[in-house]
């Protein structure tokens, strides 16, 4: 495996408050990495920097051989996709949400592909017409995840996406993630505090007080 992303001495500070200290990290293409650490340790900040949602204060971030600054942020985010904890769904129906990735790319909706994606997370085509207010927490999270992968990104960043889900929903998401990683070669980085997910992690990094350590 080769390095898809390399972070060198990445720092992030707000005023005089240092949130991340000299992060050095090499992310291999096709890796499935679990990230953990105490609340407020800087995990989400690090992942948001990787997702180009915020900019590092100093250091270097190389993606696919080029510094992050050389990419148009919009095009970059289509390759390095970030899924939020407790996502907001748009519009009125599930279909509105799954049409969004096509709309922003000025492409017609590929209905067959959308249906396949729904089935992969245990939902059916009938879900498309459901109003977002009628969805359960697990269904909302799964719809949000599909939005991120209808156009496959190279890296998928998941910020505690299974927090608050029941075991059945967690299992669906885990299996789907494995499928994304193994069959579609999507590099995944998942932030979690979940004991089961931490126990099952093959590769793990821990962020503590703004410093990153590869722990497994």
């Amino acid at each position: 495996m080769s390095a898809l992303m390399t972070l060198t001495k990445v720092n992030y500070q707000v005023g005089s408050h240092h949130i991340l200290h000299d992060i050095d990290w090499e992310i291999q293409a096709g890796a499935h990495i679990t990230m953990t650490g105490p609340s407020g340790s800087g995990k989400s900040t690090l992942v948001r920097i990787i997702a180009a949602m915020i900019s590092k204060t100093s250091g270097e971030l190389i993606f696919d051989g080029q510094p992050i600054e050389t990419y148009d942020p919009i095009m970059y985010r289509r390759q390095v996709s970030y899924c939020f904890q407790q996502p907001t769904l748009f519009g009125e129906t599930v279909a509105d949400n799954l049409a969004f990735p096509y709309q922003i790319r000025k492409q017609p909706v590929d209905t067959a592909h959308v249906q396949e994606a729904l089935e992969n997370v245990g939902l059916t085509a009938a879900t498309l017409t459901q109003r977002i207010g009628d969805l359960s927490g697990g269904e909302r999270q799964r719809v949000a995840l599909i939005r991120n992968i209808l156009f496959l990104p190279k890296i998928l960043l998941l910020d505690e996406v299974t927090a608050g889900l029941d075991e059945a929903n967690k299992t669906i998401v885990h299996q789907w993630l494995k499928h994304m990683n193994r069959d579609h070669h999507v590099t995944t980085i998942m932030i979690t505090h979940d004991a089961g997910e931490l126990a099952a992690a093959q590769r793990m990094v821990t962020v503590s007080a703004g410093r990153l350590e590869e722990t497994r």
Partner: protein, 251 residues
Amino acid sequence: MNLAVNNTSLFLAAMLVLVALGISLWQKLGLDKDIVVGVLRAIVQLVIVGYVLKYIFRIDNVWLTLAMIGFIIFNAAWNAKKRGAGIPHALPISLLAILISTGVTLGVLILAGAIKLIPSQVIPISGMIASNSMVAIGLAYRSLNTQFRDQRQAVLERLALGANLLDASITIVREAIRTGMAPTIDSAKTVGLVSLPGMMSGLIFAGVDPVRAIKYQIMVTFMLLSATSLGAIIACYLAYRNFYNERKQLK
């Protein structure tokens, strides 16, 4: 014409200010100072503008007329900017939006022969157009500020999915334009039923046949719709980008 507000009647009418002042003091609204300042400013500004307009109408010079219109537009932009607190470049954006909305609307009215290119017609009409555009832009700015704060998470998620800035903001921009135009549309619906608006009232006061006066009011309704929609759309489309930084991140 039977227009007879003499100085004595005006002085007696000033008693009405005491009503507002009394309510403010009685209900401890803390508005007494604002009321006094507001009234004094209104008197001073109107007296000055009265003499300035008298002079401009008498001279009838195109450059002087344009300068007066420019002055109106600048003041309108300055006031609209105040509603856009926190939006960078709000003054030049407001200036451009009010300049274009006033210019286009005024141009159409002149070309259509609805008004003549003489100071006594062009200046009051410009004032009406610019002030309505100013209110629409001010409301649109406030709506942008509120929505970008309240819908921050949704905007972040659209960005994270790879949306460009317009796609990430379009629902907010549309709502802000709608908010800016709403008072004009509402007043268009109720005109004549709830209020006899300024233009029409003024003409009727001056002794013009009400049927002729309504033609002017219909024209005013058309021009205000044009002015507020142009002003709001230009201001919103220029302002929304300022909620993002150069790396296309939400500030």
